[in-house]
Amino acid sequence: METFVQLLVNGLGKGAVFALLALGFVVIFKATEVVNFAHGSLVLFGGYLVVVTRETLGWAGAAVVGIVSAGVLALLVERLLLSRSKLADPFSLALLTIGVDVIVTEEIVRRLGVSLPFIGDAWDAQPLQVGGVTMFRTHLVALLVATVLITAFFLAFRYSNWGVAMRAQAENKEAAALVGIRSSRVTSTAWLVAGVLAGVAVLFIATQDFSGAGLSRGTHSIALAAFPAAIIGGLDSTAGAIVGGITVGLVDALSTHYISFAFAKSAVFLVMLVVLVVRPSGLFGTRESIRV
C-alpha cells in the first residue's frame, strides 16, 4: 500500500510536468494549427541556459534566465520562421519545426559534451517523509508549481484579453481578424507561453528524482512523452492536455514499477495508440467534421 501511494504521488508529479509540456503544445496548436516538433529543443535550451548561468547568478537567478530564454527562443522561432511563411500549410510548418529541433538539439548536446548536469538544485535528491511514506521532493514541488501555473493559465485563458482573443482566433480566424484581433500578437504570445512552460518543466525533468539523468539528449527524449500526453487529451483541448499529462505520468510510474523500466516508455505510447483507435481525435479533442 505504501509503495502504491508512493507510486501514485510519483505519477502525479511526473504527470504534472508532462501536463506543462502538453499544455504548451496544445496552446501552439490552438493558435496556429501547427504541431511543434521543436518542443523538446525548447526544453533543452532552457535547461542549458540554467547550466551556463548558474555559476554567476546562483540557481534561482539561473532558473529565471532559463525559463525566460526558453520562452524567447519559442518567440523567435515563431517570429523569424513561422510568421514569414503564411502561405505554407500547417503540415509543412510542422516539418519546419523538425528542422529547428534538429539544429538546436544537436548544438546543445554538442555543447554539453559528456557533462550531464542536474539542474533541480532547490528540490533534487531531498526526500521527504510524509506519514511514514518517503516521497521525492521534486515531484511534490512539481505538482505544486504545475497546479499554480495551470490555474493561472486557465484564469488568463478565460478572463484576460489575450485568452478571449486566443479562443476567438481558434474558433474562427477570419471572423477574429474582422473584429480587430491581431492574429500575430495572439500567435506570438501562444508560442511565448509554450516556451516558458517548457522552461519550467526542464527544471524538474533533468533531476535525479525524475529521470536519474542530467541534462542530455535523454531529456529531449523524455520531453517527447508530451506528444502522447497532448494527443491522448486531444490536440486542441487545454483541459485534455492536463488529463493527458497526468495519464502519461501515472502510466509511466506504474509500468516502471510493475513491468519494467525499459517497457515504461513504450507503455505510454501504447496507451496513446489505444486511445487513438477508440477516439481518433483524443479524449476531449473536437472531432473533425468533413463538409463536402
Binding site: 504541431v35 520562421l81 528542422g99 534538429v102 539544429i103 496513446m272 481525435s281
Partner: protein, 385 residues
C-alpha cells in the same frame, strides 16, 4: 472498339497521343542521362577505393528507404515517423530467417539469403498493414505522432527479444548475402580487369540492383492507377471516395508499400554494418533520429518525388560519410572530447537548415528546382528549332 484502336494509329494522326508520340528531344536527353548515370555507377567500383564504395552504399540504403517514405508522405499524404521501426523489423527478419539453425540461444531458420530478403520485405509489409487500422483513422499530423509509438515499441522489442536480435550489448551478425552460391563477402578470389572484387565491390552491385528495382517500381506505382489513387486521397479524401477510390485501402496500401521499402532498407542496413545491433536509447541506428533523417531526405528532395528522394538520400546520408572520408585526408575533425564538431553533427546542421529553407522558400524541394531547370532547357531548345 479495341480492334479499331489497334488499327487506327498509323492512319489517324489526331488520335489520343500515345506515349511514343510524345517522345520529344527532351525524352531522349533524359534517357541518355539516366543511361550515363547507370553506366557510371556500374564502372565506379573499378576505380574507387572500398571506403568510398561503402559511402556510396550507405547513400543507396538511404535512397531505398527515402523512396518508400516519399510514396507514403508525399504521394499518399501520410506523415510517418515510424520508418526507423520498419528498418529494424526488416533487418531483424532477415537476420532471423537466414540465421543458422544451430545458433544456441539465437533463433534462426537457416533459409536461403535471397528467400530471407524477400521474406523480410513481406514481413515488414504485413507489419505496415497491421498498423493500417490505426493509420486509416488518423490524418496528417496525428498519424505522424501516432507512428512515433512504433519507434518506441521497436526500441523495447530490440532490447527485450534477445533471442531474435542478439540484444543491445553484443548484437548479432547476419548471414552474408549470397545469390545462387555466390557470396557477397570476402570469400573466394574474384578479379575483374585486375581489380580485386571483395565485399565492398560485390555489395555495391547488390545494392545498386536493389536500388534500381526499388526506383523503377516506385516510378511505376506513381504513374499508374495506384499512384493516382494515393494522390486523390492526399488531396481530398471525400472527393477521392466519390470518384470510387477506396480510401482505407489506398491508405493501407501506401503504408504497406512504404514499410516494405523500409524493410528492404533495413536488410541493407544490416548487411552494410555487417551486424544487427538494437539501440540502447531513442538515438541510434533505428532511433527517432533515423526517422527524422529519412523525413529530411524526402523533404529536401521534394515531397512525393521519387528522383528527389534519391538526391535527398545523397545529401543526408552521403554528407556525413563524405565529410568523414575527406576529413581524414585534410585533418579536420581531429579534436576529441567535449564540444567537437563531428561529420555527423555537421550533416545534422546542414539537413536541419535545409528542411527550414525548403519549407520557407521552395516547398517543392529540389525536385521543383529540377523541374524548373528542365522546363527552361526544353523551352530554349524548342525556340532554336
Amino acid at each position: 472498339m479495341s480492334e479499331i484502336a489497334t488499327e487506327s494509329p498509323p492512319t489517324a494522326p489526331e488520335s489520343p497521343p500515345s506515349p511514343v508520340r510524345r517522345r520529344g528531344p527532351m525524352w531522349w536527353v533524359r534517357g541518355a542521362l539516366w543511361l550515363a548515370l547507370l553506366v557510371l555507377l556500374l564502372v565506379l567500383p573499378l576505380y574507387l577505393e572500398a571506403q568510398w564504395l561503402r559511402a556510396g552504399q550507405y547513400m543507396m540504403v538511404g535512397a531505398v528507404g527515402a523512396i518508400g517514405l516519399t510514396l507514403l508522405t508525399g504521394q499518399a499524404g501520410q506523415l510517418s515517423l515510424a520508418h526507423a521501426f520498419f528498418l529494424l523489423a526488416g533487418g531483424t527478419s532477415y537476420t532471423v530467417l537466414s540465421g543458422s539453425t544451430e545458433g544456441g540461444t539465437l533463433v534462426g531458420f537457416g533459409l536461403d539469403p535471397l528467400l530471407s530478403l524477400v521474406g523480410a520485405v513481406v514481413i515488414t509489409a504485413l507489419l505496415g498493414l497491421a498498423f493500417a487500422p490505426v493509420a486509416g483513422r488518423l490524418r496528417g499530423i496525428y498519424l505522424g505522432v501516432a507512428s512515433l509509438a512504433l519507434v518506441f515499441l521497436g526500441l523495447y522489442f530490440g532490447q527485450a527479444a534477445e533471442t531474435l536480435t542478439g540484444g543491445t550489448s553484443t548484437g548479432r551478425s547476419p548471414t552474408p548475402f549470397s545469390l545462387f552460391g555466390f557470396e557477397f563477402s570476402n570469400e573466394g578470389d574474384l578479379e575483374i580487369l585486375n581489380v580485386p572484387f571483395r565485399q565492398a565491390e560485390r555489395l555495391w552491385y547488390l545494392f545498386l540492383a536493389l536500388t534500381a528495382i526499388a526506383f523503377l517500381l516506385a516510378r511505376g506505382a506513381v504513374r499508374s492507377r495506384v499512384g493516382r489513387s494515393w494522390r486523390a486521397v492526399r488531396d481530398n479524401e471525400p472527393a477521392a471516395a466519390v470518384m470510387g477510390v477506396s480510401v482505407p485501402r489506398a491508405k493501407a496500401g501506401a503504408f504497406a508499400v512504404s514499410s516494405a521499402y523500409a524493410g528492404l532498407a533495413g536488410v541493407m542496413t544490416v548487411l552494410w554494418f555487417d551486424i544487427l545491433k538494437p539501440d540502447e536509447s531513442e538515438f541510434g541506428t533505428y532511433g527517432i533520429n533515423v526517422s527524422i533523417a529519412f523525413l529530411a531526405m524526402v523533404i529536401i528532395g521534394g515531397l512525393g518525388s521519387v528522383p528527389g528522394a534519391l538526391v535527398g538520400a545523397l545529401v543526408v546520408n552521403g554528407l556525413p560519410q563524405v565529410l568523414a572520408l575527406y576529413s581524414t585526408d585534410l585533418g579536420w575533425f581531429t579534436g576529441t572530447g567535449e564540444g567537437t564538431f563531428t561529420p555527423v553533427l555537421i550533416s545534422s546542421f546542414v539537413y536541419g537548415a535545409a528542411i527550414i529553407l525548403v519549407v520557407l522558400f521552395e516547398p517543392g524541394g529540389l525536385a521543383a528546382i529540377g523541374r524548373r531547370i528542365a522546363g527552361r532547357l526544353s523551352f530554349t531548345q524548342r525556340g532554336k528549332e
